[in-house]
Amino acid sequence: MYQDDDLPRHVNRGSLKRLLRYALAYPQLLKQAAVFLLLTTLGQVLGPVLIKIFLDDYVTEGVYPLRDITLLALAYAAMYGVSAWAGYLQSMRLNEVAFSVVRRIRSQVFATVMRKPLSFFDHEPTGKLVSRITNDTEAIKDLFLQVMATFVQSVVLIVAVFIAMAFLDWRLMLVCLLMMPLMVFVMFRYQRLSAPRYHKARSILSQINGTLSESIQGMKVIQLMNQQRRFDQRFTDTSQSHFTARMRNLKLDALLLRPMPDLLRTLTLAGLLLFFGWQSMGAAVEIGVIYAFINYLSRITEPMLQMTQRLSMLQQAVVAGERVFTILDDGAEDHTAANQLIESGEVAFRDVSFSYDGEHPVLSDINFTVRPGEFYAIVGHTGSGKSTLMSLLMRFYAPQSGDILLDGKHINEVDQNSLRESVGVVMQDPFITTGSVRENITLGQDMSDEVVLAAAGQAQIHDYIMTLPEAYNTPMDERGSNFSTGQRQLLSLARTLAHKPRILILDEATANIDSHTEAVIQRALMMLRGDTSIIAIAHRLSTITAADQILVLHQGVITQRGTHQQLLSEDGLYRNMYLLQQSRVV
């Protein structure tokens, strides 16, 4: 998994606000949650008050009128019931808000990534992008599910407890209030101290895991070099430093995390008792009050502890949010202004030059015109620039200089949908999607059964499909494993034929496909010829002998062009390639 390990010292308030604003899109849920929250808090706070009334008004007095007692008991039971019920509903509403928000952020960031210019993917490692879409949004989920919910619930409860205390006895309440600044101080102090320490321990752990995985992969080398002992020693050292780092965390946790709020609470209890005892020596006091205060006191520490523990999640979530926003704000590729349509299928390259890094040219001054219905082939050694040429034609990248014209219109002015519909591709590695066989041919487009069957028949895959358990409705296995490689190619061909593109790009498989598949593809292409412009990237020269024009590419430059016969008669790269393929040694 991809590891990101930068953690700033301060939370970025702008990003936090922006994250929280997402929740405002669900006012209904938020309102309901607020009502339920108040209800449950009220129940929690009123319970001790009822007991206090019972103790002071009845038990201490020693009188038990049946009606009053029954009423009190019923009120108590009802309140607990309602409070528990409201508490459950309240957290369900907040859960729903959290999941809705994450759903929106996830779909936004995914959709944006899917529409980024392709050059974006050249610089960003796949693992990192995946982590943006999954791990970072998961951290944002925790912000809403764990941090926000806990903070809102805790703060409301604590405030309500103090209000109830004030009603019972404001002086005793002030005694309890004394501990709050200390608790808050401990909370932030802990957060400040623990964040870098946890970060340290985590990064040592990821170092351990990195070393482990690297050593497993390179174990042969380690053993061949007789370095087992040295690697073992180094691993042990890292592992021990992880132990030391965790012990530092442990020390901090043990000092400030759980024992500390308990200490403060018990000390407050001592203060409470001192004040109460002192009062009792001067005037009559109510036992129920001290009972209620003891009860309230025990309810404050747990929420404080929870908030303390969740503060670091807040920080991580905001950092994750910032990274996600960077992707969203950089935006996606936009071709909405382009509206030209492709009709006849003419392709022209005019002095096209291209380089991925702006330094090393991959294509230089490429010039050619494929008239509608013509069959062009591009050949060349690995790295000659063939695939790049196709990428430009599909508008994956824009050339640095020169123009690509489709039907005489600049490629940038062609409507996105028209481009996709008119330019069909048969890829080296056929793209198989989950879903049924039929959906793999239609790709979700509206298409009559005749068209689908005709295309499958033309690609000679119809008979095979009919042998499948549910024919065209058979679901594809993961990555299409119920089809052989050759059959997947034919399926991909059927798909392309069904979509009737104006321009067909054929990226021939490097790996040897069986001669049957090859013959089928050949025949299908010959049928399209004259009607559809075909540009084939060929590895096997035997498949393109019938091309109208063959372009020989070497290091990004067209070095030869002509028909198969013309090129064979010339002494040059094409002829050598041809001879090479004739004399393949096994």
Partner: protein, 581 residues
């Protein structure tokens, strides 16, 4: 609970830490119980109006002192208990690593890296939790539960206790059920999350095809449905989790109501005091933790047991190749193969058959042949990656199994097909087998491998970091660094296993020339596809389908007009095409 027996060796070894932590835990539990009792006493004094300033101060100061002592003790038991469990985790990790270093390559063919990693990460954590939190919840839960019950029964009122505890079994049962459901839910959520990861991974790596077919909107839909499944699984966990608070709240509420009701009756009858009733309700709050602890403990034990079984299986595994040889020195550096028939474990197809081959000390033997012809199998046998009684492979006339593994590896330096570099500096990578090498030594071999010019062009030259956080090297650069690394060992036998494939022909020629100079009197084996690498070898063996098809010098083999000669012509033509002619 079996896992605690299995971990007995560790508890015995660390008995001091566990004993101190246990004693402190018990002491804390006892002292914690004293506080409610003191509060009850104080309230009774107030009610009886016999509270004096001195006694009030005494109560308050005792409570405050207890609070401080408890705090200190809590700090220490945490330090003792968790340091023991943390150390266990590191110990297991270290043992796993050590074990891995002794395993022969065949072991790694059987175990996927991810699986081995899981044992050293997730499984170790699960065992650590058992030895830390598990011990805590078991011991502390038990002690607290027993003590509280004892105090309630003996010092307050046994009838009241029984009535007040009526709802608690329900809570224990609930914690157990919810704990299990939560655990299953977590696992499910994790699986759904990894589905999500896979899905995104697939989409991002298939971005070109998605664009080519205009499938962005469809991908969005599919993604959203997978993301929704992940969210649903998460939602189930959150829903289950949301049940905790109301359930605790209801149980405790019911218990409070019962105890206050019954308690009031007892107070009126004079069987207990109001102060005792207050202490009693405070004790009730103490019982939540033991209920929770047991549900948790069962969970931890279950997971820890499964994890420890997997770790033990790994630690008990034996390497497929035994280090039983005793020879330290080789009488000469001749390498010989006499192979009847060799199949890889689990396969019936002969990888090698009837191969009788000898490389004399000081000579260079070229081994060529199509992919899968058995070239690397020869090396695998020489390095004892596999042992097979039907194969006699020897160095200096002694079978390789007669050597101590360490000694055998000292005899041979190998440049493998895939040059593996570690995340370290270039200098460290070259000096992998000789960590004490000076920079001059490193530079000398880098020059022999014709890679120094490349290295000097990197930002920090020899100190440049390799890998994800450092520079990315080309295949040819990696290969040449691996060659330099092998040369630094200056071993009597050098093997280049298709180690020049990504290097251009000119560089290959100069490396080979350097080798001839530097390796006089030593044996060199060159395995390759490109015949130019073996043109000057003393002897060339051509393998075909595991058998020795041709043997001779470059000239002799060309004259035979066999596979070698045909391949040579083909590669000549290929070279012309690559250079654009």
């Amino acid at each position: 609970m079996n896992i605690f027996l299995k971990l007995g060796w560790y508890f015995r070894a660390e008995w001091r830490r566990y004993a101190v932590a246990g004693l402190l835990l018990v002491a804390v539990d006892v002292m914690e119980l004293m506080i409610p009792w003191l509060v009850g006493q104080l309230i009774d004094d107030v009610l009886a109006q016999r509270l004096q300033p001195e006694s009030l101060w005494r109560y308050v100061l005792i409570i405050a002192a207890l609070a401080v002592v408890i705090y200190v003790m809590r700090f220490f038991w945490r330090m003792y208990l968790f340091s023991a469990s943390f150390q266990l985790a590191e110990l297991l990790r270290q043992r796993v690593f050590k074990q891995l270093t002794t395993m022969a390559p065949a072991f790694y063919n059987r175990h996927r890296t991810g699986d081995l990693m899981a044992r050293a990460t997730n499984d170790v954590t699960a065992v650590e939790m058992t030895a830390g939190e598990g011990v805590l919840s078991g011991l502390d839960g038990l002690v607290t539960g027993v003590l509280v019950l004892f105090v309630m029964l003996m010092f307050i009122n046994w009838q009241l206790t029984l009535v007040a505890l009526l709802p608690f079994p329900f809570m224990a049962w609930f914690f157990y059920v919810i704990g299990n459901r939560l655990h299953d839910g977590f696992r499910d959520a994790q699986e759904r999350f990894s589905d999500l990861n896979d899905r995104v991974q697939e989409s991002v790596s298939g971005i070109r095809m998605i664009r080519a077919f205009g499938r962005e909107a469809r991908e969005d839909e599919v993604f959203l449905s997978v993301a929704d499944r992940a969210a649903e699984a998460n939602m189930r966990v959150a829903t289950t989790d949301s049940l905790y608070d109301p359930a605790i709240f209801l149980t405790v509420g019911a218990s409070f109501m019962l105890s206050i009701g019954m308690g009031a009756w007892l107070v009126t009858r004079g069987e207990i005091t109001l102060g005792e009733l207050t202490s009693f309700t405070m004790y009730l709050g103490f019982l939540i933790w033991p209920m929770f602890a047991y549900g948790w403990l069962l969970n931890l034990v279950e997971r820890g047991n499964a994890a420890y079984t997997r770790i033990s299986a790994l630690l008990d595994a034996r390497s497929p190749v035994e280090d039983s040889g005793t020879e330290q020195q080789a009488p000469s550096f001749d390498v010989s193969w006499r192979i009847g028939r060799f199949c890889y474990p689990g396969s019936d197809n002969a990888a090698l058959a009837n191969v009788d081959l000898l490389a004399r000390q000081g000579q260079t033997l070229g081994i060529v042949g199509a992919t899968g012809a058995g070239k690397t199998s020869l090396i695998n046998l020489l390095l004892r990656y596999y042992d097979d009684p039907a194969c006699e492979v020897g160095v200096g006339g002694i079978p390789v199994s007669g050597y101590e593994l360490h000694a055998l590896r000292d005899l041979v330096a190998v440049v493998p097909q895939d040059a593996f570099l570690f995340t370290a500096t270039i200098a460290e990578n070259i000096a992998l087998g000789k960590p004490g090498a000076t920079l001059d030594e490193i530079r000398a071999v880098a020059r022999l491998a014709a890679v120094e010019q490349d290295i000097l062009r990197f930002p920090a030259a020899y100190e440049t970091l390799v890998g994800e956080r450092g520079v990315t090297l080309s295949g040819g650069q990696k290969q040449r660094i691996a060659i330099a690394r092998a040369l630094l060992l200056d071993a009597p036998i050098l093997i280049l296993d298709d180690a020049l494939s990504a290097v251009d022909v000119g560089t290959e020629r100069s490396i080979l020339a350097h080798l001839r100079e530097a390796r006089q009197g030593r044996t060199t084996l060159i395995l390759c596809h490109r015949l130019s690498a073996v043109e000057d070898a003393d002897q060339i063996a051509v393998l075909s389908h595991g058998e020795l098809a041709e043997l001779g010098t470059h000239r002799e083999l060309l004259a035979r007009q066999g596979w070698y000669a045909r391949m040579f012509d083909y590669q000549q033509l290929e070279r012309a095409v690559v250079s654009g002619r």
